[in-house]
């Protein structure tokens, strides 16, 4: 046997359990952190765009 087969059960030796718990937390939080970052960036950009005069917005559309 090369590795303990229960590396991901959390019941293994301390290093395996520790890294399992740390990796679980990281992998769960990572998507939220990244999406939160994108969202924050979009909101900040939107605020900045609203503050600046809107050159790209076309007002000449028939409604």
């Amino acid at each position: 046997m090369l590795t303990l087969a229960c590396a991901v059960c959390g019941g293994g030796p301390d290093p395996a359990r520790g890294s399992y718990i740390v990796m679980s937390i990281i992998i769960s939080l990572l998507p939220l952190a990244m999406l939160g970052g994108i969202l924050a960036w979009v909101i900040i950009s939107a605020r900045a765009a609203e503050a600046a005069p809107q050159k790209t917005d076309d007002g000449g559309l028939p409604s």
């Binding site: 991901v8 059960c9 019941g11 769960s28 939220l32 999406l35 076309d58 559309l61 409604s63």
Partner: protein, 579 residues
């Protein structure tokens, strides 16, 4: 990325992929192949996904018919299939599960409705990346080709269940499908790539292509839901793709990522799989919830109760869904202490979902409810999904899951969620947007026949399965006669009842298909806004032409659910109506 990614190209794009055909009259000259197969029009791509999804539903439905008949009448030759052997049975179960989730629920709820509705409902003429969109459908079609081809290769289709747990799925000597298993995996991976591209399109389109005046909180709930679901999908699919690549290497090259004899760990796959697998439930649930919001507000002439709360609960559900995956593994050999944590998070996720359902029920209060076919489907979604939701509490509670895990109770539970999601809500959507899609009406009377012919057998399939699960029937068994405790009096009768109800349910789908396709060609002509709805797609002609809004893109003045406003004579107030 794509060379269509410029703001200019992302505008009104008529090109057929070669850039020489950029004008409004151009598409009339396109031949059938270019128009319907090579199109970049979001509506055509939506239809392609919808019809492909319907076709795959027939395959999934046929698979369930064959294996349920085997359970009810073991050893009998199934009419239309023949004898179901143990190998066949496993392959059919796997096919049913993976097809219904990956090739029916996902393409119809996310891709078909997302493609069709997002540009129309936010008042845009097309997606931001039209050619990426076409590529997405082509990849999806390729995944289907690979999947269907795997039925006919030597050894037959993969039979290791849609969860594909190694080592069973990793080695041909265990699963006896040397080609079926890798092909299944490749098909799933291709399908994910397709939806990844689609999802990118949805999110970007919502962000950057909204009609003038449309704020984020003027966006209809169904669009919010599809986009949140797409984001959820994109953020959760990575680990599963990583796992799929590792499993593919295990199957073909001989690595040992999941092989304990080579230093791997079979439970690792389960983590990677369920890290995606649980958010996936919400990926399909949220669009279904969105459809219901549109339909019940229209047919009860009510403003949606607490619009923002619905969005916040959807976001909350999505965020929480990253923390619940291990509840699929309570008894899979993970540390028992982990079960306590995941039991708590699992029950917590019931709160936003329950709140969403409460909001919908509250929306009915004080309404003027018309029970049209789409409304019946939408209401049935709430009624049936409630049972699916509350039975989830049994399985999320670690102590009770020890008994219920892998029994028919689980099957009944998730079919009470997935059937309302993938069929009831989809029927609501298909009947509700039918006049918009085809400019014709569907037949109401036959629509109601189909409704009752689906809802009643549905309950008669799965309530017996709850009872069987509570009595210990476990999953994926092709013949229960080997288990004396599972052949007690009455149990086989329940299995037969469930199977016969399934046959009735499947038979009634013919009513739908005939009604759908007949009405699409021969139905009475529908006006642009037959339901007197507020959202923008109803302000376009039916069916919308290429470019969607021939009079120019609409300007939005208010939110999507201003029904029965006290200051107005009309009981609807379109989003783009200036006053």
């Amino acid at each position: 990325m794509s060379s269509t990614a410029t703001p200019e190209a992302s505008g009104h794009s008529h090109d057929d992929g070669h850039g020489h055909d950029g004008h409004a009259h151009g598409h009339a000259e396109q031949n059938f192949f270019l128009k319907y197969f090579w199109s970049t029009d979001h509506k055509i791509i939506g239809f392609q996904y919808l019809f492909t999804g319907m076709f795959m539903a027939l395959i999934g439905g046929f698979a369930v018919y064959a294996f349920r008949m085997q359970i009810a009448f073991p050893g009998m030759s199934v009419p239309g299939y023949g004898r179901v052997t143990a190998t066949d049975y496993n392959a059919l179960v796997t096919t049913h599960g993976s097809v219904m989730i990956f090739w029916v629920a996902m393409p119809v709820l996310i891709a078909a409705l997302g493609n069709y509705l997002i540009p129309l409902m936010i008042g845009a003429d097309d997606m931001v990346f039209p050619r990426l969109n076409r590529l997405s459908y082509q990849l999806f079609l390729l995944s289907i080709v690979v999947l269907i081809a795997s039925f006919f290769v030597q050894g037959g289709a993969f039979g290791g269940a849609w969860t594909s747990y190694p080592p069973l799925s990793a080695k041909p000597e265990y699963n006896l499908t040397p080609l079926g298993a890798p092909m299944w995996l490749v098909a799933v991976a291709l399908e994910f790539a397709a939806f990844l591209l689609g999802g990118i399109n949805f999110v970007t389109t919502l962000m950057n292509s909204r009609a003038p005046g449309m704020k984020m909180f003027d966006v209809p709930i169904v669009i919010w839901m599809i986009v949140i679901a797409s984001i959820l999908f994109m953020a959760s699919v990575g680990p599963l793709v990583a796992g799929a690549i590792m499993l593919l290497f295990d199957q073909t090259v001989g690595t040992g990522f999941f092989d304990p004899k080579k230093g791997g760990d079979p439970v690792l796959w389960q983590h990677l799989f369920w890290f995606f697998g649980h958010p996936e439930v919400y990926v399909v649930l949220l669009p279904a919830m969105g459809i219901v919001a549109e339909v019940i507000t229209t047919f009860s002439r009510k403003k949606l109760f607490a619009y923002k709360t619905v969005i916040y609960t959807a976001v909350g559900t999505g965020a929480l869904s990253f923390f619940v995956w291990a509840h699929h593994q309570f008894i899979a050999g993970i540390d028992p202490r982990m079960a306590n944590i995941f039991s708590v998070t699992t029950l917590l996720i019931s709160i936003p979902v329950a709140e969403m359902v409460f909001v919908y029920i509250a929306t009915l209060f004080g309404g003027s409810i018309r029970l049209t076919t789409p409304m019946l489907w939408a209401l049935a979604f709430i009624g049936e999904f409630l049972l699916g939701g509350v039975t989830g509490i049994f399985l999320g509670s670690s102590g009770a899951d020890i008994y219920f895990h892998d029994t028919y109770f689980v099957i009944a539970h998730f079919h009470y969620t997935f059937f309302p999601i993938a069929f009831i809500a989809v029927f609501a959507a298909v009947t509700y947007w039918f006049p918009k899609m085809f400019g014709k009406y569907m037949n109401e009377a036959w629509g109601k026949v189909h409704f009752w012919g689906t809802i009643i057998p549905f309950n008669f399939i799965f309530i017996p399965l709850f009872l069987l699960g509570a009595r210990g029937d476990h999953r994926r068994i092709y013949d229960y006669t080997h288990f004396p405790d599972l052949m007690k009096p009455g149990m086989q009768d329940l299995r037969v009842l469930a199977t016969l109800s399934l046959v009735v349910l499947l038979a009634f789908q013919v009513v739908f298909l005939v009604n759908y396709f007949y009405s699409a060609f021969k139905g009475p002509k529908a006006e642009a806004n037959p339901w007197k709805a507020n959202t923008l797609e109803w302000q376009a002609p039916s069916p919308p032409p290429h470019g969607n809004f021939p009079e120019g893109l609409p300007t939005v003045y208010r939110g999507p659910y201003e029904y029965s406003h006290p200051d107005r004579q009309d009981d609807h107030w379109p989003q783009n109506s200036p006053s």
